[in-house]
C-alpha cells in the first residue's frame, strides 16, 4: 500500500505535568479536562486534522491509561485511517534492553522507525500541554518557502515574562541566530511555543548524533536546537499571533477556562471553520431547573442545574443541586454539588461529590489561591475546604476539618 506522507506529526504526551498536582495524580497532563467537554490533547489533535496532517504518533509514558483510552482508534478526530492516523507510541523493550524516554529528543529518537514507515519529507514536533488553534500547514509552507532545516513557532510574550520561556533572537528575515532557554536577561520577546518543523534528514542526523552523546540530556530545547544553531543550519522563526496558552499550572489552567467566557471570548470554540473535536459520551441535553440561575458560564450536555452558576465552566454530567452555588470555578465531568453547598474559586476534577452545605474555596477577592480537589473524592456534608487547598485524597480532608 502507498504509505508516503509529506508530513508526520509527533506529539509529546508523556509529561507528568507535576505543577498541576492533584489533577495529574492519575492522568497524564494531555488528558486533563479543559473547557467542559475537551481534554488538552484535543487541541493539537484537532489542529493536526484541520491542517491536513493525518499521521500522528503520540508518545506516552506517564500514567497513560486514561490517555490511551481517550485516544482509542482516533475516531473522534477522523484519525482512524487505513494508512496513518493516530498511533500510540509507548517506550518499548529493544534488543539491547528497555529504556524509558529520557528526554523529548530521546523519545523521538526511539521512534525513528515509526517516522520512517511513512517516508515523510518533514516532521512536526508538538506537545500536549497548550491550548491554541493553529494551522500547521501555514507553518509548513513557510518552512518550505525558506528551504529551512528547522522552523520554530514563536509567540510574542511580555518582556517581563520572557525569562520563563525559550527565547529566540532573529534577524530581519526571521532567521534565528541565538536561542536562550529561560534567560535571566532576555534580549527578545519571541518565545518558543514548543512546536518544531524539521526536514526529516536533518532531524535524523541530529537525533542520532545526540543519542551517541552520553553527556546530552536528550532535550530539544537544551541540546538539539543549540547544536543545530552552532552548526549554522538554516533555522527560522514562524510567528503566531493568535490565542495560545500554556496550561501547565493550576492558575493558567483556570485562566484558560475563563477565557472561554464573556461576550467576545479570548478563545472561541464555537468556530465552524476550526472545530475542536473531542470524544463524546452520549449525554442527554442539559436541564436548567425552575429556580436555577446561570450567568456568564459555559455548560455542557448532561448537566442538571437547579442552583446558581456564575462565571464558571462545567463539564458534562455535572449536577448542581438546589441552593448550591458555583462561582468562578472549573467543574469537570460528573461532579455533584450538594444542596446549599458553595464552591468558589476552585477546580474540581471529575467525579467529585461535594456534600450538602459544604464550602469549597473562598470568594476570588479574598482567596489565597485556587482550591483544587482531585478526581473521585467525596467531600462529606458540611465540610470546609480551605481556599488554595490541594486535595489529593480524602485523608487531606480530615486534616482540613
Amino acid at each position: 500500500m502507498f504509505k508516503k506522507k509529506e508530513c508526520v506529526a509527533m506529539l509529546l504526551a508523556g509529561g507528568q505535568g507535576s505543577r498541576l498536582y492533584a489533577l495529574t495524580e492519575k492522568t497524564a497532563k494531555p488528558a486533563v479536562s479543559f473547557g467542559g467537554k475537551y481534554r488538552i490533547i484535543d487541541f493539537p489533535l484537532s489542529n493536526c486534522i484541520n491542517s491536513g496532517v493525518d499521521t500522528v504518533g503520540v508518545l506516552t509514558q506517564y500514567q497513560p491509561l486514561v490517555l490511551n483510552d481517550y485516544i482509542g482508534n482516533g475516531l473522534p478526530w477522523d484519525l482512524d485511517r487505513a494508512v496513518g492516523g493516530v498511533k500510540i507510541l509507548p517506550p518499548y523493550q529493544g534488543k539491547k534492553g528497555a529504556d524509558w524516554y529520557k528526554g523529548t529528543a530521546n523519545a523521538i529518537y526511539q521512534n525513528l522507525q515509526f517516522i520512517d514507515m511513512y517516508s515523510p519529507d518533514y516532521v512536526i514536533i508538538l506537545s500536549g500541554d497548550h491550548i491554541y488553534k493553529m494551522d500547521y500547514n501555514k507553518m509548513l509552507k513557510a518552512h518550505k518557502k525558506m528551504n529551512a532545516d528547522c522552523t520554530i513557532a514563536v509567540i510574542d510574550v511580555p518582556i517581563e515574562e520572557a525569562s520563563r520561556f525559550g527565547i529566540m533572537s532573529v534577524d530581519e528575515n526571521d532567521r534565528i541566530f541565538k536561542f536562550a532557554e529561560k534567560p535571566k536577561n532576555p534580549d527578545s520577546t519571541k518565545a518558543s511555543m514548543g512546536i518544531y518543523i524539521f526536514s526529516k534528514e536533518c532531524l535524523f542526523k541530529y537525533l542520532i548524533a545526540d543519542a551517541a552523546d552520553p553527556n546530552s540530556s536528550n532535550d530539544f530545547g537544551k541540546n538539539i536546537i543549540p547544536a543545530m544553531l552552532a552548526n549554522g543550519e538554516k533555522m527560522y522563526a514562524y510567528s503566531f499571533n493568535d490565542y495560545w496558552k500554556d496550561v501547565g499550572t493550576i492558575d493558567s489552567l483556570w485562566e484558560a477556562n475563563m477565557d472561554l467566557l464573556g461576550e467576545e471570548p479570548a478563545l472561541n470554540l464555537n468556530d465552524e471553520a476550526w472545530r475542536i473535536y473531542s470524544r463524546h459520551t452520549a449525554h442527554s441535553p442539559q436541564y436548567v431547573g425552575a429556580d436555577a440561575s446561570i450567568v456568564n458560564s459555559s455548560i455542557t450536555e448532561g448537566c442538571d442545574i437547579y442552583g446558581t452558576v456564575r462565571n464558571s465552566v462545567l463539564g458534562s454530567g455535572v449536577v448542581v443541586m438546589p441552593g448550591a452555588e458555583v462561582i468562578d470555578s472549573v467543574i469537570m465531568a460528573d461532579c455533584v454539588i450538594g444542596e446549599g453547598a458553595c464552591v468558589s474559586y476552585a477546580i474540581l476534577d471529575s467525579d467529585v461529590k461535594v456534600g450538602n452545605g459544604c464550602t469549597v474555596g473562598k470568594s476570588r477577592e479574598k482567596a489565597k489561591g485556587i482550591a483544587v480537589v482531585g478526581t473521585g473524592i467525596s467531600i462529606p456534608d458540611g465540610t470546609t475546604v480551605e481556599d488554595g487547598a490541594m486535595i489529593y485524597d480524602s485523608s487531606d480532608l480530615v486534616k482540613e476539618a
Partner: protein
C-alpha cells in the same frame, strides 16, 4: 441469541406534515439533539443488535445525512452494521411492481431480500413515531421463553386521545399473554392494550408470512399476517409500562417535547446505562451570557443564550439574542433569534431566523410553526 433489526422510517409521515414535508418521520428532530430514529436505533444497539436495516419510502435525504456510516451508533461494521433500504421499484415490470409501497406489509415485501439474506434467528421491527427507552433483550427473552412466532409489544392507553388519528391496533390476550384477538382500535371507552408496533418475529416465520401474503395479494400486516394466523401461530404479547410518548400530530409533537421538562419522563428516556445515541456535531458547550436568565428548560450544546428562556426546548446551535424572551417554545437546530424579540408557544424548524423586535405567539393547543429556513 442472534437478532437483526428493521426500522420503518416513513410510516406515519402524514401525522405531522409540517415537519415531514422536508424529511422522514425518522429524521424529525426531537429532544434538543436527537432525531426520532435515534430511539429505536439506540434501543436496538443497547440490546446487542448490530445488524439493522432502515426501510425508506421518500424524502430520505435528511435520514441518510443523519445516519451516515452509522459510526455514531457504533454501527459502522464489516459484518452487519446499518443499511438503508431504499424503495425497490422495478424499472421494466408491470405497474404494480413499479409502485411505492403504502402499507407496512408492502414495505416488508420490498425488503424480503434483506430478510432472507439475514442469518439471524429473530428480527425486531420498530416504527419511528414512538419515543421510548425499552430493553429489547427482555422482549426477546420473553419471545423465546414463550416459544412465540411473533411478539407484539403493547402499551395501555386510557382514552382515544392518546392514539394516532390514523388509528391503532388493539390486542387482546389470554392469561398466558398469548394474543386471542387483534383488531383495529375502535376508540371505545376505558383502557385498551394497543400495539406499539415494536415486534419481535422469528425471521423465517416472518419471511414465509410475507411471501405468502405477497402471493395472495394481501396488504395489511395486522389483518392479513397476524389476525389470519391468530389460532395457528403463537402470537405473544409483551406489556411495556415504561415511558412511551407517541407523536401523532404537531400538537402532540409539542406536547411530547414539553413532557421532557418533567423529570420522570426525562429520567425514563435518558439513562446512564442505556444512552440514546445520535449524530455528533462536535458543538462547543453552551455559553450563557452576563444577562441570560434561563429557567425550566432543556438545552443542547453549541448554543449562545443572551436573553430570557423559560419552559423551552433548545436544540444545538441556537442563538438567543439580548433582551429576547422565549417562553414555551421549541427552537430547532441553528435557529437564530435577534434582540428584543418575544416568542411564546412557537416551534421554529431548522435554520429559522427571527429578526430583532419580532413578537410571535401561538397557543399550547395550537403552536405556531415556522418552517425550515424561513426568516421572520
Amino acid at each position: 441469541m442472534s437478532v437483526a433489526g428493521l426500522i420503518f422510517s416513513n410510516i406515519h409521515n402524514s401525522a405531522i406534515p409540517e415537519l415531514t414535508s422536508v424529511r422522514t418521520m425518522a429524521s424529525v428532530p426531537y429532544g434538543c439533539r436527537y432525531r426520532l430514529v435515534d430511539f429505536p436505533l439506540s434501543n436496538m444497539v443497547n440490546s446487542g443488535i448490530t445488524k439493522i436495516g432502515i426501510i425508506t419510502h421518500n424524502n430520505y435525504q435528511s435520514l441518510m445525512d443523519h445516519i451516515g456510516t452509522g459510526k455514531d451508533w457504533d454501527l459502522a461494521r464489516r459484518s452487519g452494521g446499518i443499511r438503508i433500504l431504499p424503495p425497490f421499484i422495478a424499472a421494466y415490470s408491470n405497474a404494480s411492481a413499479a409502485k411505492l409501497y403504502s402499507t407496512r406489509l408492502e414495505a416488508l415485501m420490498g425488503v424480503t431480500n434483506f430478510i432472507s439474506k439475514c442469518t439471524e434467528e429473530y428480527i425486531v421491527l420498530s416504527d419511528c413515531d414512538g419515543i421510548c427507552n425499552i430493553d429489547l433483550t427482555k422482549v426477546i427473552d420473553d419471545h423465546i421463553k414463550k416459544n412465540a412466532d411473533v411478539t407484539i409489544v403493547t402499551r395501555t392507553v386510557k382514552s382515544a386521545k392518546e392514539v394516532s388519528p390514523e388509528g391503532a391496533t388493539e390486542v387482546k390476550c389470554d392469561e398466558n399473554g398469548m394474543a386471542t384477538e387483534v383488531s383495529a382500535y375502535l376508540k371505545h371507552e376505558g383502557d385498551a392494550e394497543i400495539s406499539t408496533n415494536i415486534l419481535v418475529a422469528n425471521r423465517l416465520f416472518l419471511l414465509n408470512a410475507v411471501n405468502d401474503a405477497s402471493a395472495h395479494g394481501y396488504n395489511h400486516f395486522y389483518k392479513d399476517i397476524i389476525a389470519r394466523r391468530i389460532n395457528r401461530a403463537r402470537i405473544n404479547c409483551y406489556h411495556y409500562d415504561g415511558i412511551y410518548l407517541q407523536v401523532t400530530s404537531l400538537e402532540s409533537y409539542f406536547d411530547c417535547s414539553m413532557k421532557l421538562l418533567d423529570p420522570e419522563v426525562r429520567h425514563g428516556l435518558f439513562t446512564k446505562d442505556s444512552p440514546i445515541y445520535t449524530k455528533l456535531r462536535n458543538s462547543a458547550p453552551t455559553v450563557y451570557s452576563e444577562d441570560s436568565k434561563i429557567t425550566n428548560s432543556y438545552v443542547a450544546d453549541g448554543c449562545v443564550i443572551e436573553g430570557t428562556v423559560e419552559n423551552s426546548i433548545i436544540f444545538r446551535g441556537v442563538h438567543v439574542g439580548k433582551g429576547t424572551v422565549i417562553k414555551n417554545s421549541i427552537l430547532l437546530q441553528d435557529t437564530f433569534i435577534g434582540h428584543n424579540a418575544s416568542l411564546n408557544c412557537v416551534i421554529t424548524d431548522k435554520n429559522v431566523v427571527i429578526r430583532n423586535n419580532r413578537i410571535l405567539s401561538g397557543h399550547e393547543s395550537m403552536p405556531f410553526f415556522i418552517s425550515k429556513g424561513a426568516m421572520v
